[in-house]
């Protein structure tokens, strides 16, 4: 069964090679005449104001954290979805309780973090 993974590594090699060739191509063929103005970050023609690497909104971190929680919970559902007929009714109700807890967590998140997620009641 492991030999099924071999084409994936071959594909990874080809894909990386293609990508690197594409990235280097224009550096080799195209002109290269840098100047201080050209290398400055683009800010609509004005001199850049401050550094871009300042602190940014906590809401992006919150989205990433919630994503990890829910993505892990969804991954737990996959093995059951593959074998649910053999596992029978008992496991079915166990998984339903699991999904119920997941849904309660989602409702809590939406109520609690609606400001951080920038979710407003009226979305018009």
């Amino acid at each position: 069964m492991l030999e099924a993974y071999l084409p994936i590594f071959v594909l990874l090699g080809i894909a990386l090679f293609l990508a690197i060739v594409l990235a280097i191509l224009s550096r080799v063929i195209g002109p290269y005449r840098p100047s201080a103005t050209k290398l400055r970050p683009y800010e609509s023609g004005m001199d850049p104001v401050g550094d871009a690497k300042e602190r940014y909104s906590i809401s992006f971190y919150m989205v990433a954290m919630e994503f990890i929680v829910f993505d892990l919970e969804i991954i737990f559902i996959y093995p059951w979805a593959v074998r649910y007929k053999e596992l029978g009714l008992g496991t079915f109700f166990a998984v339903m309780v699991f999904i119920l807890i997941l849904t309660l967590g989602l409702i809590y998140t939406l109520k609690k973090e609606s400001k951080n997620f920038q979710i407003s009641k009226s979305t018009n």
């Binding site: 069964m1 990508a19 690197i20 594409l22 224009s26 195209g30 201080a36 970050p41 989205v63 994503f67």
Partner: protein, 338 residues
């Protein structure tokens, strides 16, 4: 697992060739269809009907100057465009194009797909961060938030199809739809998956990652020449791959509708005629879905960020969980009591 009729490495080469060229065809198709929708002519000067326009574009991009901003992180800035191109090409490894025509049939194909799709986020976020431009940073962060948010409903929609196929292999997924396509038994899942695929490909109406009016070019503001071209290439490859995944999960892959009922009329498995039929059916479905991607882009205006987040978290995710629970309940009851 049956032995594929053609060596998987020949299919690998053909698939790479087709995928890279389909991106060019998509660019041409998009510009012509956009022009048609907006009552313009579109590119028609380079070659017959402007067909050589994508080649002219690529040549132009290669001969442009490759600028790396001096304030940014030079290594990450150069590595970032490699990631979306590589992950887009890697996805094709598990997609079945026809009966026995696949590069490899993993028994965890769906988990592989989800894993590779998640990696694409890194390229966009790295590009935004390493450029050290405020537009890029905002575009990159938005892209990360958007792609993460829409992966959840996408995962749940796939899980609801796994209930039908009872396998994580994409070949089994296609064969489970030989009688009834996924779209007929699971229409809500189809809608959720299609919307999530639009968001994952950063396509309009979810293209506020590169909203021109607010963020100039979004995460690729500071990219020029072929490095910009690589983001462009990756975007169109993601459109093609999104269409392939919609086809595999919901449109029956390479099967004609209700093919199981008249399978004796079709050419036998393993023959050349069957392979040609399979690839034509698969290609026609993918081409139609690519057209839908383009059609939607030039018809529907862009979302605001708060609308995007509330659609993902407050609408699609609960809907996809409810859809999964209802389908699981019905299938379980049928299995236990009938």
């Amino acid at each position: 697992m049956e032995a594929p009729i053609i060596s998987s490495y020949i299919i690998l080469g053909a698939a790479l060739f087709v995928l890279l060229n389909s991106a060019a065809v998509c660019v041409y198709a998009e510009r012509r269809i956009a022009a048609f929708i907006q009552n313009r002519v579109g590119p028609n000067r380079v070659g017959p009907f402007g067909l050589l326009q994508p080649i002219a574009d690529v040549v132009k991009l290669i001969f442009k100057e490759d600028v790396t901003p001096s304030y940014g992180n030079r290594i990450l800035h150069s590595v970032a465009p490699l990631i979306p191109v590589t992950t887009a090409l890697m996805t094709v490894a598990v997609i079945p194009f026809g009966d026995g025509l696949f590069i490899t049939d993993l028994n965890i194909g769906i988990l592989y797909l989800l894993a590779i799709a998640s990696l694409g986020v890194y390229g966009v976020t790295m590009a935004g961060w390493a450029s050290n431009s405020k537009y890029s940073l905002l575009g990159g962060l938005r892209a990360a938030a958007q792609m993460l948010s829409y992966e959840l409903p996408m995962g749940m929609a796939i899980a609801s199809m796994v209930l039908f196929s009872m396998s994580l292999s994409l070949v089994d997924m296609v064969n489970a739809q030989i009688y009834w396509w996924g779209i007929f038994v699971n229409p809500i899942g189809f809608i959720i998956f299609t919307i999530a695929a639009f968001a994952e490909a950063n396509r309009s109406p979810f293209d506020l990652v590169e909203a021109e009016q607010e963020l100039v070019g979004g995460f690729h503001t500071e990219y020029s020449s072929m490095k910009f071209g690589m983001f462009f290439l990756a975007e169109y490859m993601h459109v093609v791959i999104g269409s392939m995944l919609i086809t595999v999960f919901f449109l029956g892959g390479y099967h004609l509708p209700f093919a199981g009922y008249y399978a004796h009329l079709l050419p036998e498995a393993g023959t050349l005629a069957k392979a040609i039929l399979d690839i034509s059916v698969f290609g026609a479905k993918v081409a139609f879905m690519v057209f839908v991607f383009i059609w939607v882009r030039w018809t529907i205006p862009r979302f605001k960020y708060n609308q995007l987040m509330s659609l993902g978290w407050a609408r699609l995710l609960p809907l996809s969980i409810a859809n999964f629970v209802i389908i699981a309940f019905i299938l379980m009851m049928i299995h236990e009591f009938f």
